[in-house]
């Protein structure tokens, strides 16, 4: 029989406000096995922990029940306390009477009653606890960064700087991401390429960093410190190590009418292409959907002009297998599709564009060589209307917009408006806004400068509809301060489209067993205290894949993720989780059900010799769990038809004892 000590926490008024903690500790005093029961204001404090240690000594406790907050919060704290008092840390059970009790109840009576029941269940469980010892696993000292935008680049550079090898996987032919497409960056207006491309070159030249461009992660197995990853290197039909990036092939390629995705389809590229001049790696790529040679075997011009002999029409996709200790997700964002916003006539007029298209239009390397010209007729626009919150803060219909604020639009719209007025003072610029959200260092000053020094007309209100008429765009909008409906004849309308996570994020999250929110942003382990870690051990988050972010924030988060990775890779051994499944081979009937349900591939079957009662031997097929791979999810214990699978720390008998205690 265990000697159990019960410790009820007030958590200040968090618990004590709705739960009579005195009554709880009194009621639990007489439960089977309990020899000591007390309550205290903050069990997690130094004094509270000392109280537990003293009670363990004085009452020779063998098990501890702490009625407090969620085990996600302080289970580790109390396990350490138990270990310091000489107990096995797995002899601690937490009854969650905060998140699942005091916070959800308003009434003291019901709150107290439920807290007592939860306490009884934890006591019933701890009575059946057995000491557990965690195993150790080695750490592969190499990190994987998925996504080669500014987030991935910064994370990789920081990890490499600490001396660990890093691989970047980027699905585009070049790294650089969205930042490479931008013109200027707020609030200091330095040119994006001028500050990004040196970093891209640093990545290329760093001996610790390998770039897998035009590649995708296709399979992830393993666990923290020991991930096995398969990377598909798509065939680019150009030998990467031989191509010098001279561009002769691009010049001579006869297939010139392929929409250029780098300029968002506003001009064309060739079938063989280098996305932009400063691309890293600076290697040509053949688009198999556009190349005549690859489609019907006729052409071959690029192979003829290539002095280096780098063209290889027979190149195949290649699968690279590599081991990693840590994985950083940096998959970034995209603007949402404007197709469903008929009221703004995006699909009806070429002169209704998104803000990212505006970036390309004003970029010196863009389709109009930096001159702000209307996409439809190449004329200079004299009246420009910017519309903010297009698809952001849109709670009405989920298939159209996003409920969240995209965070970056207020600032880049202020930037666009200011730069337009600076370069073309004869242009009227209107910005329709719901709220101008500019929290950030020097951000509000920047927005006010656009209004006060550059004469941008900010109008509190929204655009209701845009109707193309002749070569004008009739904009109907409301001015809420003047209480008027405005009718503006615009030459160009720029929509600040909401941003959403990249489409590759969801399948990747499934591979990584990392959790996401309803908007497909990766969830952090704790929104305040662990913002760059995924709840899945060994997976870290960098940049806009976790939520909308501007460049300064992305870079700081990238550095934070890198420091977490470095902390992990600096360890030689990792302590595992002893709460893993194990199979009772005498009961196992070899049905393979557990092997099929295991999401981690931790279960294998072996043929094993058994001695039968009649002294003969028999070979039977039985399940074996690899404790290093098992994550303790318990799926196998539920699926096993013969009850052979059991989870350490959560034995079937313990769960049943808890249920019995609750139902008693």
């Amino acid at each position: 029989m265990q000697r159990v000590g019960v410790f009820v926490c007030w958590c200040g008024s968090n618990i004590a406000g709705t739960v009579d903690v005195q009554a709880v500790s009194e009621a639990l005093k007489n439960e089977p096995g309990v020899v000591y029961s007390a309550n205290y204001q903050y069990m997690c404090s130094q004094a509270g922990q000392e109280m537990i240690k003293a009670a363990v000594k004085e009452h020779r406790l063998t098990g501890i029940v702490v009625c407090s907050c969620s085990p996600r919060m302080h289970e580790a704290t109390f396990r350490k306390t138990a270990a310091a008092a000489g107990l096995n840390p797995y002899m601690v059970e937490i009854a969650n009477i905060r998140e699942q009790c005091s916070w959800v109840h308003k009434d003291m009576m019901t709150g107290t009653e439920k807290a007592i029941i939860l306490g009884k269940a934890a006591i019933a469980k701890v009575n059946l606890n057995a000491p557990l010892t965690p195993g150790e696993s080695p750490v592969t000292k190499r990190a994987l960064v998925i996504g080669g935008g500014i987030a991935g680049i910064q994370t990789a550079l920081d990890i490499a700087d600490a001396g660990f090898p890093v691989d970047i996987v980027e699905k585009q032919p070049t790294i650089g991401g969205k930042m490479a497409q931008l013109d200027k960056t707020f609030p200091t207006l330095d040119c994006a390429a001028c500050i990004l491309t040196p970093k891209m070159v640093d990545v290329a030249q760093n001996e610790k960093i390998r770039i897998f461009s035009y590649s995708e992660v296709t399979d992830v197995h393993g666990f923290v410190g020991n991930f096995d990853v398969k990377i598909k290197k798509k065939a680019r039909y150009v030998k990467e190590d031989i191509c010098t990036g001279c561009g002769a092939c691009v010049e001579k390629c006869p297939m010139k009418k392929v929409p250029n995705e780098f300029n968002l389809g506003m001009d064309n590229r060739h079938a063989i292409y280098i996305p932009f001049a400063q691309a890293v790696p600076k290697v040509a790529t053949i688009d198999p959907n556009a190349c005549n040679m690859l489609k019907n075997g006729k052409c071959g011009v690029c192979a003829k002009v290539c002095a280096a002999g780098a063209i290889d029409y027979k190149q195949k996709d290649e699968i690279i297998e590599e081991k990693y200790g840590a994985i950083v997700v940096a998959t970034g964002f995209n603007p949402i599709s404007m197709d469903k916003f008929d009221e703004f006539a995006y699909s009806q007029s070429k002169d209704v564009i998104t803000s990212l298209e505006f970036e390309r239009l004003t970029n010196a390397a863009g389709p109009s060589a930096g001159k702000l010209l209307r996409p439809s007729d190449g004329k200079h626009p004299h009246t420009i209307v910017f519309v903010q919150c297009v698809g952001s803060r849109c709670a009405a219909c989920a298939e159209k917009g996003k409920e969240y604020c995209s965070k970056i639009c207020c600032m880049y719209t202020a930037k666009h408006a200011m730069l337009t007025r600076d370069k073309y003072p004869d242009t009227e610029v209107y910005v329709f806004y719901i709220d101008a959200r500019t929290p950030g260092k020097n951000f509000d000053e920047f927005y006010r400068r656009a209004v006060e020094e550059y004469g941008v007309k900010y109008i509190k209100g929204m655009v209701g509809k845009v109707v193309p008429e002749g070569d004008k765009l009739k904009v109907q909008a409301s001015d809420l301060i003047a209480n008027k409906q405005l009718h503006i004849d615009a030459d160009l309308v720029v929509l600040a489209a909401a941003i959403e996570p990249d489409k590759s994020a969801r399948p990747l999250a499934t591979m990584l067993t990392a959790s996401m929110d309803t908007n497909d942003f990766f969830t952090e382990a704790h929104p305040k205290l662990r913002p760059v870690e995924s709840p899945t051990a060994g997976v870290f988050l960098s940049g806009a894949c976790q939520g909308p972010k501007d460049i300064p924030e992305t870079v700081s988060q990238a550095g934070a993720a890198a420091s977490k990775v470095i902390g992990l890779l600096a360890k030689d051994k990792l302590t595992g989780n002893p709460c893993v499944a194990s199979s009772n081979e005498l009961m196992c009937n070899g049905c393979s059900t557990c092997e099929r349900v295991c999401p981690y591939g931790a279960i294998t079957y072996i043929d094993k010799e058994f001695r039968m009662p009649d002294r003969t031997t028999k070979i039977r097929r039985v399940a074996v769990v690899n404790p290093a791979v098992c994550q303790g999810c318990g799926a196998c214990t539920v699926a096993c038809p013969s009850g052979a699978m059991d989870l350490n720390g959560f034995k079937n008998s313990q769960i049943m004892a808890e249920v019995d205690a609750i139902c008693k």
Partner: protein, 129 residues
Amino acid sequence: MENNKYLREEILRMSGVNTSKCMKCGKCSATCPAYDEMEYHPHQFVGMVEMGDIEPLLKSESLYKCLSCFACVERCPRGVEPAKVVEAVRLVAVRRQGANRMTANDVPETIEEDTPQQLLVSAFRKYTK
């Protein structure tokens, strides 16, 4: 003020609209084709009902200028449905004793040769109890 509180709840109940969902973007008024005819605009209907400032709305001609085209309902990013608020305020007005906007006697002079019957039916629904 007590009366307004009752009226406000009545209007919210009849319309099924939660006016607190409004984020004051003004897209309803930006999209409204009858805007210039109206003294109080769609966003004001939502805002004033939310504040309980309903009497001015009840006295206003704006009630009958709303076309019930539901463009504001279609475009509202927060799903507030301003046209339903206008309709509920209108109903409160016509339900008051003798406040019918239209009587049967007014009908003949409004009929033109190509007036669809459906229009008469909906006008009666809109302007009478």
